[in-house]
Symmetry: C2
């Protein structure tokens, strides 16, 4: 790539923004059927472009090997026929979902005869900033378009060639079915300045959704002049009440910690009710050890499980994302709620209890996006919630909280019909 | 007032934030009935404190006269028995509204048996930053509390004594009916640094709602690290289509411009359909002049109304807030929509037309919070929409758009009940 100046990128990004906004205004007027056809045509085009996409991805993979990328990153970057087919099918699934735009949220007639309809409408242009995962290019474009939004995508530089090839296929397929040019655009520069410029484009972008690690998200939040929907991390908790069914509690605990430890809805801390610590702690410690989990326990936990590692207080804020867990004894459900609200990240938390009063105290008191009684926190996921496609999970409180699907990518407007009313 | 250091204010504001967050967690658990009683008791306390409030307000008014405040500002600042009674009645009205928290938005059972409820819950702590209008102190506190939120209020320094007296009354009345200490707090410093500190308190404040002029709002947006719900200004448009009923159109136009020109939902620009400019322009100009409006017309407008003032293009972005208006001839409804989307502020816009197709093009195409057919933009108001109390009007697209009442001051959480489900 030649050397690009920030000034040139700013000019070009401005043009991309204008184009996206024009496209968004047209997209907002498309019928639900037209959007379905467009998304299906894009799915076909992604499959038809399989050779070019694989070729582009091979170039990215060569660079990845040359640059010694971690095997986890290489795995996320790698495309094959099956993965491309999965992306295309993802577009078809999104196409079939209920159209989130044009829904009447409420409708009322005022005493003066004004008829007021509150109707869902697309947000406009959505910016997505993400890491080297080419599948996000297709998934995010599909979800945004389904809701009638244009999208500007900025993926990780390691996936640059793959993203360009995927976006070209999306564009080709979309335009064959009436997609407006500019509705899906990839930022064609891998320079970091391009992100900083994009974060100031509040004139065009209604919202930015960052997807990736905490560092990326903090960069976006610090720089963005438009709203950001995000979660920083998932410090998810399990609380085992004295009333819990121990067998069920242990099964949920191991699922939450071990089934896929590297994701945001995996467990990071287990809290044990003091009233049954003598029974619960040894059982919890034994089962975690059997599942190869390294347990860091506080002083009281280690009274009943002396072989646990020593827990430092600041570890209670940790998102380990691997087979480590913090463990602490607390004074019943009220103390558990307080602990979670202080140390947690407002993502997903679980109580294991048979006592209905303890369950209600927990579910009402914990200030998190998703609160569970007797089920694994791993269910915090758009697919598991039945949303179809998911664009991410929000731990914010404004606009969207928890898993976000197409229904979270619209706003509303008030349409008021009168016959000459004045104040 | 003694000299207060920024460091001291930061420490004290931190304590206020902690206190507010604790209060918010308790408020969220209050029953709907308890909140009604609390608000009614606060209303009674405001009335009972009439002598102290009037005395405090007299001190503010003396300062206002000494500092030569404009008569408009003095009018907004002045309290009398009637105005205090109106505030108290406002609290009683809010008390009677439907409780926005604890509503089940949706409820579904997944194939694996998980029961998922999406339930409205309070936002937490809300920050309100406003100018020298003591009524906002009471109105905003009432609306925030009704939705189960704690509130930290920072009013204009000119109303300082009035606000302290009002907040003391609210606190007294609230605590007599179970209000948690810290649920309503006034920032007790008039220094500008106090606002800047408050804007960084995202650990405690879920959202800031600024109320006032564009300068105040830009300061808040620039400094805030938490979400802000706002509107900068209201550059509201009327478009008169060739199909309009001229008599009705003129009546709505004059109402929008003249009934209360200093507010955000008043008209600032009138657009005239070229196809009927020869008839519409002279009639519009004559009626506006008769109502003492100064009209700035573009070249084409002035062809049919040569006595209009010359319009400079940049005036098309103006929010005059007085008896001036921009006037321009456009090429039909499509051009009107494009003009509004480019020059407007996404607040409230109106079409006057009998042609149903033109009406739909306008209502669907204009990207504003509230769009009207054949009615005055002056109806963009929580009261006029039947929301009861209003905390402001949003031209943002995330979370809340248009007039905001108690229903906009909640978020939701997912409450999931299982019996041992794992992935």
């Amino acid at each position: 790539m030649e050397n690009i100046t920030a000034e040139y990128m700013a000019q070009q990004l401005e043009l991309m923004g204008e184009k996206a906004l024009r496209a968004a205004r047209e997209l907002a007027l498309l019928s639900a059927d037209a959007k379905v056809k467009m998304l299906n045509s894009m799915a076909d085009a992604v499959e038809a472009a399989m050779p070019e996409i694989l070729q582009a991805n091979a170039a990215d993979m060569n660079n990845a090997v040359a640059n010694d990328l971690s095997s986890a990153m290489q795995d996320r970057l790698r495309l094959d026929e099956g993965r491309i087919k999965t992306m295309a099918d993802g577009l078809r699934t999104v196409a079939q979902q209920s159209d989130p735009a044009g829904k009447v949220i409420s409708s009322f007639t005022r005493p003066n005869g004004l008829v007021i309809n509150k109707v869902t409408v697309p947000l406009g242009v959505i910016g997505i900033i993400y890491e080297a995962r080419p599948n996000v290019t297709v998934d995010a474009a599909g979800i945004c378009l389904k809701a009638g939004n244009a999208v500007i995508l900025r993926g990780g530089k390691e996936a640059f060639n793959s993203n360009i090839a995927l976006a070209a296929a999306l564009d080709r397929g979309g335009q064959a079915a009436g997609l407006i040019a500019g509705a899906v655009q990839i930022v064609p520069w891998t320079e970091r300045e391009a992100v900083q410029i994009m974060l100031k484009m509040d004139k065009y972008l209604s919202v930015i959704i960052p997807r990736g690690g905490e560092g990326l998200i903090r960069t976006v939040v610090a720089g963005a002049t438009m709203p950001v929907i995000k979660h920083y991390k998932g410090v998810c908790h399990a609380y085992l009440d004295k009333s819990c069914d121990l067998e069920s509690a242990l099964k949920i605990l191991i699922n939450g910690k071990c089934q896929r430890p590297g994701v945001c809805n995996a467990l990071e801390t287990v809290l044990i009710d003091r009233a049954a610590a003598d029974v619960l702690v040894p059982a919890v410690f034994k089962t975690l050890c059997e599942n190869k989990v390294t347990v860091f326990g506080d002083e009281e936990f280690r009274k009943y499980a002396p072989d646990a590692e020593v827990l430092a207080e600041e570890q209670l804020f940790n998102e380990y994302l691997d087979l480590r867990i913090s463990a602490k004894v607390v004074d019943g459900v009220t103390a558990a709620v307080e602990h979670i609200n202080f140390y947690g990240s407002h993502h997903s938390e679980m109580i294991s209890a048979e006592d209905a009063a303890a369950v209600e105290t927990f579910l009402n008191g914990v200030d998190s996006a998703v609160v569970y009684a007797n089920a694994s926190t791993r269910f915090t996921d758009g697919g598991e919630f039945g949303m179809g496609a998911e664009i991410g999970i929000s731990t914010d409180k404004l606009h969207a909280r928890g898993p976000m699907g197409v229904d979270e990518l619209v706003t509303y407007k008030y349409i008021v019909r009168g016959n000459g009313q004045v104040r």
